[in-house]
């Protein structure tokens, strides 16, 4: 595994000058992950903050070959590029010993929702690529609309906190479990605040042949109504409250990579984000209790599966 010093010495493949917001969680994730590839990388990004914020013509923040096609087809697009690589190598148009890695990036909207079918298809077909979802829990690029990754109780512009409906009334989709059901060789959840864990996971994801998946929580001050300088703190709290467990499934065996010494109450995480502020008004207690109960249940489930073959 790379040390921080070694990681820092690697070439920056995602440059400054992009237009992502102050405090946005995405750039740290991309920079860290691209440094962990170990070979030249070809990338694609689903429509969303990352795409819009990095490529306003004629500028680009990408120092890797990169393509944007549409919202729901990042996994299908990278399938085509990876297949071209295989074909052109076979035909001798690319040197047989040239190693190239492939990665698709998508937000939760482009991955959990509109891109789920293309993702599922590409995983099933077994292309040799990494899919990375930066999950900030809503359609942030278009102005904070709810996605299936939006947490229960969160206010968004399409699940506003009203007097009848108090924010999102459904639990979030557990995409990592859905991906696990594809029986791919490696998948993991991570967070950029834990750079060591995330870079280790990215290294593995790139090194392992076949489809691999990383689901990474990504702070969004705009949509979370949080302070830009608090993004890392909130990400860490997401893990310490077990809202966002850090774990991996390698060859079918689940491993919880981080177990907080003291599991913090979800209240600590909720109170730093304006999207949950209505929960702190009258009648919100019950909703917070439900959020805590759901987190406890999932965390217990994960602890129970720790070290076990789960597929």
């Amino acid at each position: 595994m790379a040390t921080l010093k070694k990681l820092a010495e690697k070439e920056e493949l995602f440059t400054g000058g992009h237009r992502l917001c102050a405090g946005c969680g995405i750039p740290q994730i991309i920079r860290l992950v691209l440094r962990s590839a170990g070979a030249p990388v070809v990338g694609t990004t689903a429509t969303g903050c990352l795409e819009v914020g990095t490529t306003i013509y004629p500028y680009t923040a990408w120092k890797i070959p990169w393509i944007h096609s549409a919202f729901e087809n990042a996994a299908a697009t990278i399938s085509g590029a990876e297949a071209a690589h295989v074909a052109l190598k076979r035909k001798g148009k690319i040197a047989k010993d040239k190693e190239t890695k492939f990665i698709a990036f998508g937000g939760d909207g482009g991955t959990y929702d509109i891109g789920l079918q293309a993702l599922s298809g590409a995983l099933e077909r077994g292309h040799d690529f990494v899919y990375l979802c930066y999950d900030n829990g809503a359609y942030m690029n278009t102005g904070i609309q709810r996605s299936s990754a939006t947490p229960f109780g969160s206010a968004t512009t399409t699940s506003p906190a009203g007097v009848v409906h108090p924010g999102k009334e459904q639990k979030r989709k557990n995409l990592t479990r859905i991906v696990a059901a594809h029986n791919i060789p490696y998948l993991a959840q991570g967070s950029a605040h834990n750079w060591k864990d995330l870079s280790m996971k990215a290294e593995k994801a790139f090194a392992i042949k076949g489809p691999t998946f990383l689901n990474v929580i990504s702070a969004c001050p705009l949509g979370w109504y949080s302070k830009p300088e608090s993004s890392m703190e909130i990400s860490k709290l997401a893990v310490d409250t077990c809202y966002w467990p850090i774990y991996e499934i390698e060859e079918g065996v689940l491993k919880v990579n981080y177990k907080p010494k003291e599991k913090k109450p979800i209240l600590d995480w909720l109170k730093l984000q304006g999207r949950f502020k209505h929960l702190f008004k009258e009648g919100g207690d019950e909703l917070i209790k439900k959020i805590q109960a759901d987190i406890d249940e999932e965390w217990e489930r994960l602890l129970d599966l720790d070290g076990k073959y789960v597929i």
Partner: protein, 398 residues
């Protein structure tokens, strides 16, 4: 006699789908992402056989939808591969979004489009609603009358799409079931001839060139978007000359030369029908019968529909008394079918323009036979005699 006997001996009987799949085998593309849909399924099934038996070294990707098929085409083409696929109807409709992305990024993807009606009501038979809906997507569209032509058009489409002056995706259309499933005699090109004709594809940029990274599909603002579209529009319009050039070159190789239009007995015609694809064959049979009766009738079959050869069409129809444009697709609530609208517009303001009417025919596989074609000629003659058109647009065989 001897030469015609030899000709027959060299011919094989194939369905349109088999012929197109064989053309794909001879082209041996780098990547073929595909999803099955009636009536184009047999193209992909046959190609699967070639793949399974090692007769092509294509990377064959059996994707989970047509949207992903075209998306994978885009990814593969961006990575510098020669890419082909096939689809029909709902499949083409599902690709819609990505068709524009492929053409906007100027990827020379070639797709066999086996024409079929669109739902609802669901119908698996031929009409042109699918490809007509894609007529403004920035793809070159070539319509094939016969199996031979569908086969020949595949090779030419590769050359046209990949031409540096063009760099635009192309679809080769043929009529579902009528052409895709009917066995016709055709003459094949040898593998060596095909290899020599299509040559190697060398992209200007490739995602796989990791030493020279490029960003593709960047976000554009009002200061640049329109310029990209202007350049794209010019490039596809310029494809017309390339189509002619490559049609001639193909003619030298195989003896079968292709142009923009197929004109049948038009020179001295009083009345003409304009129609695409297989229905032109039926109409030509009607022309033969009517000519025997001394009636001066003819057919114009545009082979190239996008880019639309409006000057050549105007030139071909100039001086004819009355023309009926037959559309195998309706432009719902518009003024006639898409071909009618385009033809009428092409004729506006020219000298000696014919009277023009339009009729919708053959939707969802509704029969269009020689008698129907004769009726259309008869109605068009009536307009000519009256010096005016009673009913400009409408349906026939309803």
């Amino acid at each position: 006699m001897a030469s015609s006997a030899k000709k027959l001996k060299d011919q094989v009987g194939l369905t349109g789908n088999s012929a197109v799949a064989l053309a794909m085998k001879q082209i041996n593309p780098d990547v073929c992402p595909a999803y099955p849909i009636t009536p184009s399924t047999a193209v992909i099934e046959t190609f699967s056989d070639y793949f399974a038996n090692g007769e092509v070294d294509t990377e064959f990707i059996t994707v989970e939808s047509e949207h992903s098929a075209m998306s994978a085409c885009v990814g593969a083409s961006a990575a510098g591969a020669r890419v082909m696929t096939a689809t029909s109807s709902q499949g083409l409709a599902l690709m819609w979004e990505v068709l524009y992305i492929a053409s906007g990024m100027r990827f020379p993807i070639v797709m066999a489009t086996v024409n079929r009606a669109l739902s609802s009501p669901i119908n698996i038979h031929c009409d042109h609603s699918d490809s007509m809906g894609a007529r403004d997507s920035g793809w070159i569209q070539i319509y094939s009358e016969t199996v031979q032509e569908a086969y020949d058009n595949m090779f030419q489409a590769i050359r046209i799409a990949e031409d540096k002056r063009v760099l635009t995706p192309a679809m080769v259309c043929m009529d579902g079931f009528i052409t895709s499933h009917a066995i016709e005699n055709l003459t094949l090109a040898t593998d060596a001839e095909v290899k020599g004709f299509v040559g190697d594809y060398t992209p200007e940029h490739s995602l796989l060139d990791t030493d020279n990274p490029v960003t593709m599909g960047a976000m554009t603002m009002p200061d640049s978007y329109m310029n990209f579209k202007f350049e794209q529009s010019n490039a596809i319009a310029g494809a017309k000359e390339v189509v002619v050039e490559i049609g001639k070159e193909y003619g030298k190789l195989t003896g079968r030369e292709y142009g923009l239009l197929d004109c049948y007995n038009l020179e001295d015609a009083d009345v003409a029908i304009v129609v695409l694809s297989s229905a032109a064959g039926t109409t030509k049979a009607a022309v033969d019968e009517l000519r025997k009766e001394g009636k001066k009738v003819g057919v114009l079959r545009p082979r190239l529909y996008r880019p639309f050869p409006h000057q050549e069409i105007a030139e071909a129809l100039k001086g004819i008394g009355a023309v009926c444009v037959l559309d195998r697709a309706d432009s719902m609530s518009g003024f006639g079918g898409p071909l009618f609208t385009d033809i009428r517009s092409a004729l506006y303001g020219i000298e000696n323009a014919p009277l023009v009417m339009g009729r919708i025919f053959g939707l969802g596989g509704r029969d269009f036979n020689v008698a129907n074609a004769k009726e259309v000629f008869e109605e068009t003659f009536k307009a000519l005699e009256a010096g005016k058109i009673e009913k400009t647009t409408g349906y026939i065989t309803i």
